[in-house]
């Protein structure tokens, strides 16, 4: 359901770490039902932007609104019920079982006293089923390879039953078939409870494939925001990536693809 009111709004966001400015004057809105892709060269501030929206970092200037509420007014636990994040890389300190790691996605919804309910277990298991990681459920997380790990992290993010799903390079270790599967699953969630998805992409072709709208960052500022067709063109590639790659049209879908 597309409403006029954006799900996420960033107004004049500036962020610097120590004295180095990382992001400047960011303004953007994300609407319900959208799959947003954030792209840009290394150091352009993609991950920083993700961290700002998920509430991990606090901007020096500007406001972030989630469902029209200022993010600084939302208590962290409540925010965790709304937003879940799939990290690019992560290291788990102790050898929890894969199913335990997925189950931790339910933590924002569980109180220590009541403990978890049957429903929580069902949700976790469903999430693992969707990402085809049930067969790894009993394995220790330290014994699991990169690709399986990514699916488990996605499962955990799904188990968190978020309204907003954020991902950082979710497909880098995935096999070709799993890449496709995951994109399908993510898109499906948009039909269910998830209102919007924001993902950081290194792979421009994947971004073009997944996202409804792309935001191209250049040196901490929004260079351009629009559909893949609008954003991925020779001009932008040359300007931002300083690359002379070729852009072709995908044989079946109306999206641009970049080849060297």
């Amino acid at each position: 359901m597309n409403t006029k009111e954006p799900t996420i709004t960033l107004k004049d966001i500036s962020f610097s770490y120590e004295k180095t400015p990382l992001l400047q004057d960011i303004n953007l809105s994300v609407f319900s039902g959208e799959f947003i892709g954030i792209i840009g060269p290394n150091g352009s501030g993609k991950t920083t932007l993700l961290k700002l929206i998920s509430g991990v970092l606090e901007p020096q200037r500007g406001k972030i609104l989630i469902f029209n509420k200022d993010i600084t007014n939302i208590p962290r636990k409540k925010l965790a019920k709304i937003i879940s994040v799939v990290p690019q890389e992560s290291h788990v300190a102790y050898n929890y079982k894969a199913k335990e790691v997925v189950f931790m996605g339910r933590i924002p919804h569980i109180t220590q006293w009541q403990g978890e309910t049957l429903l929580d277990y069902q949700i976790s298991q469903n999430a693992m089923k969707k990402t085809d990681s049930l067969c790894h459920a009993e394995k220790g997380i330290h014994q699991i390879s990169g690709g399986e790990m990514q699916r488990i992290y996605i499962a955990r993010a799904l188990a968190q039953t978020p309204k907003i799903l954020m991902l950082d390079e979710f497909a880098s270790h995935l096999d070709l078939n799993y890449k496709y599967e995951m994109i399908k699953i993510l898109r499906n969630t948009l039909q269910e409870d998830v209102k919007c998805i924001i993902s950081v992409f290194h792979d421009l072709n994947l971004a073009s494939f997944c996202a409804d709208r792309l935001i191209l960052l250049n040196k901490g500022k929004v260079e351009i925001s629009g559909t893949p067709q609008e954003v991925i063109n020779n001009n932008n590639l040359r300007k931002v990536y300083r690359s002379h790659a070729h852009i072709i049209q995908h044989p079946e879908l109306a999206i641009p693809q970049v080849i060297m």
Binding site: R76, P87, N95, K97, K99, A137
Partner: protein
């Protein structure tokens, strides 16, 4: 898909119902402590027959010298060992969780060095002034530990943040500095040297019902508070950011665990001296047996710690009777090889 069909409806697809597990573990652990305690009661300088011990226990007999030995000497000592073991292993597990570091022990944040310096200062003063200060040595130790804890907090605080690596580094630095001061004190002391070294290696020989009544409440209250944070500690294991994403207020959690754990350790150490390796090794054993889920691992760690220390104390009292070995020596002699063995097992299983 085959996995789905092997399930017990109650536990749903292999997920543990941890409440049942925890209850079973607690009951089993409690019984184990009672049995270990009774075994410990059988040992000492004076040999007393088990039947006699049972009769003394049953009739609460404190009339004759055997009854006094059991009720006033051995039982308080065993209870003290139990409480100390619980605290050290429980707080050790909690610290390893909050710092995401399997090498953390309860002394890592500077508590022990301060307590040691406080106690050694008290002992030195006792000989200088000629006044008899043994009863208030715990107060010296407690003040010392609070000073070192405060220093660690002060040095690692960055505006309103309490960053992890800074905490660890500050703890190491404070430990080094206070240890240097203690070495200095040891070097210029002469007659007090013996007392100081005994304190530094752990000493349960002065346990009494009065001391137990002082530390009983903080230990149990603190343990409950720590176990209450188990879910959050689980989340912390995923990583600082991941924990934030799961709604955990990591700064506050760190402060809470740090304060509760350190206060518990400070209070116990003030009475028992420094007992090492328990806080480092026992949580690993607990993790090996019941897994890293803190909701079960912390209580199990505390229980194993209690049993371990009761056994160590029994050995310390008995092996070279009538001479007593400081209990810290026993825990180190047993703990160090055990730790190395655990390390090798981890490497073989390709765990981190």
């Amino acid at each position: 898909m085959k996995y789905l069909t092997e399930k017990n409806n109650k536990y749903l697809y292999g997920y543990p119902n941890w409440k049942y597990k925890a209850f079973f573990v607690l009951v089993f652990g409690f019984i184990a402590i009672l049995i270990t305690g009774f075994i410990g009661l059988n040992f000492g300088t004076i040999s007393i027959q088990p039947q006699k011990i049972l009769s003394i226990l049953w009739h609460h007999n404190t009339n004759d010298s055997l009854g006094i030995i059991i009720w006033e000497l051995r039982i308080p000592r065993l209870i003290m060992a139990m409480l100390a073991g619980m605290t050290l292993a429980g707080v050790g597990g909690a610290f390893q969780g909050i710092l995401r570091n399997p090498l953390a022990d309860p002394y890592i944040l500077g508590v022990s060095a301060g307590a040691a310096l406080g106690a050694c200062t008290g002992i030195a003063l006792q000989f200088i002034t000629g006044k008899y200060l043994t009863n208030i040595l715990p107060i010296f130790a407690l003040i010392g530990s609070f000073i070192s804890m405060f220093l660690v907090y002060f040095f690692s605080k960055n505006k309103s943040h309490l960053p992890m690596t800074d905490l660890l580094l500050a703890g190491v630095a404070v430990n080094f500095f206070f240890s240097a001061l203690i070495t200095l004190l040891l070097a210029v002391s002469n007659r007090e040297l013996h007392s100081m070294i005994f304190w530094l290696m752990g000493d349960l020989s002065n346990s009494s019902w009065q001391k137990i009544s002082i530390i009983f409440l903080p230990v149990f209250a603190g343990s409950f508070l720590l176990i209450f944070s188990s879910l959050e500690l689980n989340a912390m294991a995923l990583g600082e950011e991941e924990a934030l994403h799961l709604g955990i207020q990591t700064e506050k959690l760190r402060l809470r665990i740090f304060v509760i754990g350190s206060v518990m350790i400070a209070i116990v150490v003030s009475f028992t001296g420094l007992i090492g390796f328990v806080g480092l090794v026992i949580p690993h054993i607990a993790r090996l047996i019941v897994g890293p889920d803190h909701r079960i691992m912390l209580p199990v760690s505390a229980l194993i710690g209690a049993i371990f220390l009761i056994l160590c104390d029994t050995i310390a009292r008995t092996v070279l009777a009538p001479t007593e070995i400081p209990i810290g020596a026993i825990t180190a002699i047993i703990g160090a090889p055990l730790f190395i063995h655990l390390l090798k097992r981890r490497n073989e299983n390709n765990e981190y």
